[in-house]
Every structure is written in structure tokens, then in C-alpha cells.
């Protein structure tokens, strides 16, 4: 499957935040939305999810306009993994994951055997079966993020949209979540995620859209877009992009040059 975004214009009320955005994503690929705070990354993915209206341009799923889908049908195509937050009620983790099945039930439907089976499989797929009987509000932020991912998987969508999946996570959990994202893409899901780390683009071998303050954007592969000049233009800081060999790995990463420490290290 393929989602095509052409000349997308979106925002709140009458004010467009994002203008002329174009990108595409196919099954099995990862697209990172990168850019400084306030350029409209969140606005953009909310528009892709259909949470705010499209003001201009087009978003199509395999050639069909996204707006033509009902909420329920669209949920079978795109799943949403929000940032972990605390819901008002202390639901059981397994119940939270089963909620992902809602779109496959009738309006008055309740989850059945098949839904429980799939939810259990999703927990297992992310290796968090041990959380099943815990209370969602009492587990750690990293665990909550994984549970929300499991919930979106239970929805069985072709694409996932993830809002800064690694924010608020410790070093280890960031790596774990990222690894799972890459695995899911290998298994055929298309993933759109917003991130603040250019390194994520290298790590996931993802496509990237770098959005600038002036509203412009650059789309392409990591090598094409994540360059020292582009990052300086987007974030207004000096960045070094480094290549290294480590054991059998070819590593590519970027490192902001912080004045002071830079001279000290020379």
C-alpha cells in the first residue's frame, strides 16, 4: 500500500501551519518527520490521521482520497501511537490493547475470542506479555509506550503514525522502541514517525522529510537530506556528520558542535 501526500496544506482555524508539503510512504518503509519545534510536525500528522481537516492539496491511500474513508475504515489502514500519557481511569494493560480491536467490532460490539487472541499475540510480538495483568497507569513511561504500540498493532493497520515514540524514554528504552519500529517495518508495516533525533533516520535507514521554519521542506533518503548544511539551515547550529566502522557495523551519526567543548577537544 502507499500513502501519497501532495501539496498538503493544513493548520488550525483559518491559519495554515504547513503548506505545500509533499511526501510518500509505502508499506515496509519508515518516514521520519524531522524539524525544529513549532514547524508543524504534529499538525501535519494530525492531518494525515484525519483529526484536523485538509485545507488544500491531497492525501491519497492507493489512489483513493483519504477523506472518503469513514473513521472506522480509515482506522483499519492507519494506526496511531500517541505519546504515552495518563488516562483518567486505571485500565488493565490487556484491556488497553484489546481496545485497539474496536474498529473491527460492530457499533454495539464487544470484544470476542478472536480479539483477545490477537491482543495477546501483539503483546507477545513486542515481548511485553509480562505486562498483561498490570495496571496501565502504574507501569513506566517506556512500558506505556510499548503498550500503546501493541494497541495500535492490534488494530491491524497497514501504516502506523507515531508521535515522538522515544521522547520521555531513557537511553535503553529508546533503543528498544527503535529496534521494534525497525522490526515492524521489516514485517511490512509502513511507519511515519516524528522525531527530534536526526540519528533516528540513520538508525532506521528511513526516508526523511526535514521541515524548515520558513515552511519549506526537503524529502528524500537519509544521505540526501541529513547533511551538515541542511541541519544548519533547519536548526541554526553546526553539526558534524560522521561515518565509522565498529565491528561489523557501518555507523553513520551526527553530533552537534557545541562551542567551547569543541575547542577544548581539538
Amino acid at each position: 500500500m502507499k500513502i501519497d501526500m501532495k501539496d498538503v496544506r493544513c493548520g488550525y482555524k483559518d491559519k495554515a501551519v504547513v503548506e505545500g508539503f509533499s511526501a510518500a510512504i509505502s508499506s515496509g518503509r519508515i518516514l521520519c518527520l524531522l524539524g525544529p519545534n513549532g514547524v508543524g510536525k504534529t499538525t501535519l500528522f494530525k492531518c494525515i490521521l484525519g483529526l484536523i481537516p485538509l485545507m488544500g492539496g491531497s492525501i491519497t491511500v492507493d489512489g483513493r482520497n483519504a477523506q472518503e474513508f469513514s473513521a472506522s475504515d480509515y482506522a483499519k489502514i492507519i494506526g496511531y501511537v500517541p505519546q504515552a500519557h495518563t488516562p483518567p481511569f486505571s485500565f488493565n494493560v490487556f484491556d488497553v490493547v484489546v481496545m485497539g480491536r474496536t474498529t473491527h467490532m460492530g457499533i454495539f460490539g464487544k470484544p470476542g475470542k478472536k480479539d483477545f487472541q490477537i491482543a495477546a499475540e501483539c503483546l507477545d510480538r513486542l515481548e511485553i506479555s509480562y505486562l498483561a495483568n498490570r495496571v496501565y497507569t502504574e507501569i513506566s513511561g517506556g512500558e506505556q509506550q510499548m503498550v500503546l504500540l501493541a494497541r495500535a498493532l492490534a488494530q491491524e493497520p497497514a501504516f502506523l503514525i507515531m508521535d515522538e515514540p522515544t521522547s520521555n524514554l531513557d537511553f535503553g528504552n529508546q533503543a528498544r522502541v527503535l529496534k521494534n519500529i525497525c522490526l515492524l517495518a521489516e514485517q511490512g508495516l509502513g511507519i511515519i514517525m516524528t522525531t527530534h533525533q536526526p540519528d533516528h533516520v540513520f538508525q532506521c535507514e528511513a526516508d526523511v522529510s526535514l521541515i524548515m521554519h520558513d515552511g519549506g521542506h526537503l524529502s528524500g533518503t537519509a544521505e540526501q537530506v541529513i547533511t551538515e548544511q541542511n541541519l544548519r539551515k533547519a536548526y541554526g547550529i553546526d553539526v558534524a556528520i560522521l561515518n565509522a566502522q565498529y565491528q561489523e557495523y557501518d555507523l553513520c551519526f551526527c553530533r552537534p558542535l557545541i562551542h567551547g567543548s569543541q575547542t577544548g577537544r581539538r
Binding site: 494530525k46 490521521l49 484525519g50 483529526l51 469513514s70 473513521a71 472506522s72 475504515d73 480509515y74 482506522a75 483499519k76 492507519i78 494506526g79 496511531y80 500517541p82 495518563t86 488516562p87 483518567p88 481511569f89 486505571s90 485500565f91 488493565n92 490487556f94 484491556d95 481496545m99 485497539g100 474496536t102 474498529t103 467490532m105 457499533i107 454495539f108 460490539g109 464487544k110 470484544p111 483477545f116 487472541q117 495477546a120 499475540e121 503483546l123 507477545d124 506479555s129 498483561a132 495483568n133 497507569t137 488494530q155
Partner: protein
Amino acid sequence: MERDDVIAENTIIQGHENSRRKERRILIALFIILIATMLVSLTIGRYGVPLDQIFDIFMQRITGREISEANTEANLVLFIIRIPRILLTIMVGAALSASGAAFQGVFKNPMVSPDILGVSSAAGAGAALAILIGVSSIGVNIVAFVFGIGAVLLVMLLAKAVGRGSNTLLVMVLSGVVVSSIFRAMTSLAKYIADADNKLPEITFWLMGSFAKSGSNRNVIIMLIALILGATPLLALRWRMNVLSFGEEEAKAMGININRMRIVIVACSTLLTASSVCLCGSIEWVGLIMPHITRLIVGPNYRILLPAAMLGGGIFMLVVDNFCRAIIPGELPVGIITSLIGAPLFIYMLFKGRRDWA
């Protein structure tokens, strides 16, 4: 490795089935308690009717035999006064409790209830005005419902305008306070202009919340219709209420038509509250504390929470009403007792549940 996975999945599903079995047992237990409370309630009152006599009368009725002379009076007390009142009490308790639970889910806010959102006072004001003008009792119902819906809309609008999407938990409660106070003023106005000899006592006593005058067969039927109309959609949508409590965006991304769902839930909950208020005045706190107590026992999943809260609400209301009937000869308005029980209980739950609400 693969075998381990299957074992892990089976363990999860097994554990889940066990907890569902437990849920079913809780519902059955609540139902038995409700029946037992009903039987006890039949014996309570100024005219004492012991259980064996009640049984006797029921047998005579069921078998179609003539009611024996010794039982005539008791028969009248039971079927004209006590049974309608008990049925009405249970239905009002269930309705208020269901309404509170549904409002809490749809506004993803455990601190709201029909009273806090202003629905009760608005329905009360509407009904008071309708009584003042002198419309039919169906008309009183309709006016109360319209006022109730108006109050919810007003609170939603205020909360949205003031809160701008953030910290709506408190803003919504405060908006409710404001809206309630507007409608209470309207009620006071209605009382002020009301004829002090006949209409004023009628309005005042009814506003205190009491089943004393409302237990008639006709009212039982009105409440039954309202309960069926209001609670059936809520029960049918109860799984989706879980999803709704995660917030608008997530619920929509999980495939729920938010607007349609909200309209149905708010309308049904308001109908339940408004009809209760019309029949027996505003009985406060039940809609707030019963869902909470139930949540402490069965957890927040609406699949079990909603039916359990309805049964629990019925039991609670009936017990309180019995107490009011038994405590003093003239009988106490039930609203006074629910407030006396509800307020401290709520403070206790504020402490106990603080972690869940943070």
C-alpha cells in the same frame, strides 16, 4: 521459542477469562443482594408486614386465589404503595448511577456527574418552571430534559472556551458550578413567584428529593420507559466508552465516530437524570459516588462497570430510602441523606483515588 510464545498467549487469555468469570459472579452477587434488599424493603414501614405474610400474599396472587380477609389491608399497602415505591427507587438509583458513569467516560473526567455538570439543577429549574406554568406531567418531563441538555451544552461550551483544551478536568467542574448556580437562581425565582399556598410547598418538597409522593404505578411506568430508552443505548455502547475515555484523538484514530457517539451518550445520560429529577426531585451525589465505589470494586472497564454501577445504584438508593422511611415517623427526604453520606464518602475517595486522577 515458538512454543513459549503460544504458552504466554494462552496464559494471558486464561487469566483474562478468569477475571471475566469473576466479573460475572460479581454481577450475580449484586443481583441477589438487590432481590434480598427488595424483600426486606417490603417489610419496612409504618404498617408492618412480616415476610411470611408477604409470601402468603404473593402465593395467593400468583395462583389467582382470592386474597384472604386477613391479608386485604397488607395487600393494598404492598401493591398500591410499597412495591411501586421500591421499583421506582431502584430504577432512579440505577438511572442516576448509569448517567454519572457515562458522563465520566464521555468527558474522560472522573469528577463529573449529573449534579456537577448542572444537569440536575437545570432539569429541576425546568421542571419547577413547568409546574409553575401548569403544564401536563409529560410536558414537565420534556421541559426538564431540554433544560438538562442545555446545561450540558453550556458547560461543554464554557469548558472549551475557558480551558482551550488544557486542564479541562478542573475547568469543566468549575463551569458546572457556574451553570448550576444560574439554574438554581431560576429555581429560586420560580419559588419566589409561586403561589405560597399550593404551588410553593409542592415545588419545595419535591426539590428536596423524595420518593414519598412519587411511588405510583403510573410513575413506575414512566420511569421504566425512560430507563429503557436511556440505558439501553448506553449499555450497548459501553465497550466504546472505554475507548472514548482515552480522549478524542485516540478514540477517532481507533475508528470511533466521536461526534455521533458523544451526542448519543450525552442525550441518553441527560434523559436518565431529567426523568429522575422530574419524578422525585434532585437526589444528589448518587451519580458521582456510585460509579466511583463500583470502579473501586470491579475496575474501570465499562463492560462490567456500567451494569455493576446500575445494580449498585439501585441497591444504594433502596437502602437509603428504607432508612428514610424507618428513621422518623414522618419520613426524611432522601436527598438529605444521600448528601450526608455522599460528601464525606467523596472526600474519602479523593484521598484514596488521588493516584488515578493525577
